[in-house]
Amino acid sequence: MPEFEDITGRYLTVGIGGEQHRLFIEEAGRGIPLLCLHTAGNDSRQFRHVMNDKDVTDRFRVVAFDMPYHGRSTPPDKWWLKKPRLTTKLYLEIIRAVWTALGLERPVVMGCSMGGAIVLKVAADYQNEIRGIVGLESSAHAPGRYNDFLHHPAIHGGELCASYTYGLNSPYSPEQSRRENWWYYSQSGPGVYQGDVHFYSNDWDARDDIKSIDTGRCKVALLTGEFDYSCTPAMTEQVAAAIKGSRYTMMKRMGHFPMIENYPDFRPYLLDALDHVAS
């Protein structure tokens, strides 16, 4: 018998903002729903180690999906007539649409980078409907990553986006894992990463929103890598300081992509964070 992994991938058409989106969704495990949000310009493959971890999947139904335009999700009709541009409003609609379509009850929502940003807004707006959030590399405001070269006809976008994000890994993370993430980045469609960074660096500002999060209703665990220079530990410390009762841990010798760049070292932090938000 072939030794398949325990991950199952399927497609689901979801209405978002009046458009039909055929999304790729993969999942593993049973128990408390754990909805995972990938980083800008990437896709749900970043969570493959989480979905293959029995200590997680014995307690959680881990669900990860490719955002529209990303990975194996199909762009909506007439995609060729507009630039991919993610906004806070649209991002929240996408998450909400998937979560509702799947009927996830009181999920834990975990995201990294731009996903780690938007989970703060999810917590602020839906704190009565979720158990909590795990914010990986979470910032409430993260200017500085957007630039014109990320989508430019004279530059190979895949190679630039992958190289531009490669240094966000910690130099101490295993090279094979860092390179795997490089490969995923190189596969993004034209302008998709830039469109995500538009959200992350231009549109995103939740510095006021996060003050409304009540950790008595919605638990908040924040994990940021020491070598993350996009969302620095200091940026997450500011988030933690604004959310009373939140828990923040800096991950030593870790970078911006903990779940894919170095899962063995990330794992104890993750299990601890999941214990906290699921308690």
């Binding site: 500085g144 990553r145 070269f149 430019h152 004279a154 530059i155 190979h156 190679e159 630039l160 992958a162 190289s163 531009y164 490669y166 240094g167 966000l168 910690s170 130099p171 020491e226 070598f227 993350d228 220079y229 996009s230 620095t232």
Partner: protein, 132 residues
């Protein structure tokens, strides 16, 4: 004029670049000249298909270099150290977070070669700390 990173380090760097198996795969289109400026000391790195064919110390104005990287020696020293501190571990990190590390000239040419150039900059770190 500073000795950093020193002639022997530069020789080791060139040898390492030219023996690098990854650049042999991805370096075909990296044909350009760029400058590396360590404090006051400027060097032109002449690259042909991913191999360094000449290193010119203190290049005169007739050496045409579309782009280059410049930083104070203290910054380069952190970048080249065995245990670089956060923000100094990668040239893209320094471009974003270390204001003293600057890209000079036509950054479009640099970013057209981002993959091979990034590899070439990372080989600087793999060459080891100068004056070690």
């Amino acid at each position: 004029m500073s000795e950093f990173p020193g002639a022997s380090w530069l020789d080791r760097y060139v040898a390492r670049v030219n023996a690098d198996p990854e650049l042999a795969v991805i370096g075909d289109w990296l044909t350009t000249t760029f400058t590396l400026t360590f404090g006051d000391a400027r060097h032109a790195v002449v690259v042909d298909k991913g191999r360094i064919v000449k290193l010119i110390d203190s290049p005169r104005f007739d050496v045409r270099a579309p782009f280059g990287f410049r930083a104070p020696i203290e910054v380069w020293r952190k970048f080249l150290s065995a245990d670089p501190p956060p923000l100094y571990h990668d040239f893209f990190a320094m471009l974003m977070r270390v204001p003293e590390f600057v890209i000079e000239g036509d950054s479009l040419v640099a970013m057209q070669n981002a993959r091979a150039l990034h590899r070439m900059m990372n080989i600087m770190r793999e060459t080891g700390a100068p004056n070690a």
